[in-house]
Symmetry: C2
Subunit: 100 residues, 2 copies
Amino acid sequence: MFKALADEGRRQLLDALRERNGQSLQELCELLPDLTRQGVTKHLRILEDANLVVTVKRGRHKLHYLNPVPINEIAERWLSNYERDKLRALSALKAALEES
Amino acid sequence: MFKALADEGRRQLLDALRERNGQSLQELCELLPDLTRQGVTKHLRILEDANLVVTVKRGRHKLHYLNPVPINEIAERWLSNYERDKLRALSALKAALEES
DNA sequence: ACAATAGGCAACTAAAAGGTTGCCTGTCAA
DNA sequence: TTGACAGGCAACCTTTTAGTTGCCTATTGT
């Protein structure tokens, strides 16, 4: 999941779906002109495995939808832990720097 | 930055520093017993490059401090974009699934 | 002073990620 | 019904990343 987010191209794909949900592979390929169709497919596959994107086959098109649930979980579970300790960490950092 | 977070070992290091800030390399090595000292060093280097960890040399020890600022930025800038669209994406997803 | 401790640097290896090409399958429209 | 379009699959190559080993430097305690 963090790994899926660790690639700029994949983040761009997510951004594209955020702008317009339900795009086909073709459409998404136009957004990453430096990659071949298969390259984009692989990235979408990773996003799908990470459950960040959900697909629906409609005829000969495969539509891609953003799944907001897991990214929400990350925000709540992992990042909030660090939010909670933000001020404490900052003051410890400051103290350590001043002491030297 | 996302890349730095994309490794379980590095996340463990961050967690360790969150529990107790200002640990030395030695101490952090004990937390990842499967890795050699140099392995841990490399991970810490990556966290440092991503500005997630700040270090202070004190005598022959190098103390590692969690830097809460960038992780906070990620939470605010990137994730909040997706938070904002959470409900919209969910309903689009639902509609697409029902239509098929 | 010097042995032990804490860490840094560089070269090397192994594994994983990113990307491509070639070909195959299914669907639609004329 | 057949040609064009949308996509899938598998093999392959290249680059990056993760990890190791070996050796070097600096600090500290006795």
